[in-house]
Symmetry: C2
Subunit: 216 residues, 2 copies
């Protein structure tokens, strides 16, 4: 049975989730597929293209965008879309690093269009809806990249040194005390906090738009 490009990409995604991006070498991927390394070049132009295809696959795996459920406020639904993206980027190891290097691909466009439709339906001008979506996407990617960078460095000595230096800075110390230190799920809490800020800003802007529209 002939190997297909889809098989190569899917196996690559799984292998990266297992061993990380740095250990994802073409020879290893080939071995995993029971094939010789140069064989991969028949299915893929080069590694760069393989990574692009992996990014597309990861986006697809994130799940289709939805429309707001009946009776659900649009801002809650919008936050849920962001969480969908967030989970897709954080559930697979190093997924953010691969997706970050990609422009909104062909596969992402229909999803963007659908989310835009719901935003336009509640009163956003198309241009503003698009920029809002892209801004939220950038925030999610930033959080995910930062989170994986943190995970890649489990350097206890470094953490200790950082914590000690933070002890000399009064506000920082107070904040860390209030947060109970950088715990395990601190990333998710931080993500949710910033997401709430962002969505809050979108709501405020939406209200201003409606007000201006009603006033004139």
């Amino acid at each position: 049975m002939a190997l297909t490009q889809d098989q190569v990409v899917e196996r690559a995604v799984d292998l990266m989730a297992e061993v990380g991006l740095e250990a994802l070498t073409l020879r290893r991927l080939a071995t995993e597929l029971g094939v010789s390394a140069p064989t991969l070049y028949w299915h893929v132009r080069n590694k760069r293209e393989l990574l692009d295809l992996m990014a597309e696959a990861l986006i697809t795996r994130a799940g289709r965008a939805t429309s707001p459920a009946p009776g659900q406020p649009w801002w809650e639904w919008l936050a849920e879309q962001a969480r969908l993206q967030w989970r897709a980027l954080t559930s697979h190891r190093d997924a953010a690093l691969v997706v970050a290097g990609n422009r909104p691909t062909d596969t992402a466009l229909p999803g963007i269009e659908q989310v835009m439709a719901s935003l336009v339906a509640v009163g956003f001008p198309p241009a503003e809806a698009l920029r809002t979506i892209l801004s939220i996407g950038n925030y999610v990617i930033g959080c995910a990249v930062e989170r994986q960078a943190e995970a890649a460095r489990d350097d206890p000595e470094r953490d200790a040194r950082l914590l000690q230096q933070a002890g000399d800075l009064p506000h920082l110390r107070a904040a860390l005390a209030g947060l109970g230190g950088p715990g395990p799920s601190a990333d998710d809490a931080g993500f949710e906090y910033g997401l709430a800020l962002l969505i809050g800003g979108v709501r405020a802007h939406h209200a201003a738009l409606a007000g201006a529209g009603a006033a004139t």
Copy 2:
């Protein structure tokens, strides 16, 4: 004259701004410094450490954090701090990719502390001030990473294909028409839009905090 670590790092930062991260090889950096490649290992443990030091240097180059000017609203000042970061990450090529892979380093802590001080002074609890700062930082990094990924792919054929597909999606087409297409400074405009949303959310949250505090 003996080579110092600072010279190595500074030259590395400049070289990367010139040729990009991928072309920043130890041999090339060594040649640039008039030195043999293994010599670098006397000044730096390995390439990973060199990149970490470069990230620190880039953060330092961004410029010191300020306090709000007298009479300046805190939210305008906060946005200005974000722009400072943004300019530092986008003025040097591939700077975002290097900084993104780094935890808030020792050098970044004093800056964070100073910004926190100003936020606490206007009524933010320390924990919320910290999370706000980190959220803004994540947004900035996400924007910068995305921007450089876009710059790395100046593939006209790809852009054309994307644009054509967008033409079939009504809302997307309307948005792009309103924005005048992906122009040269579209990134900056997009960054400013999301930043305004985020800061708006922070203001709204701050008002809610003050209201709750005054009510009880």
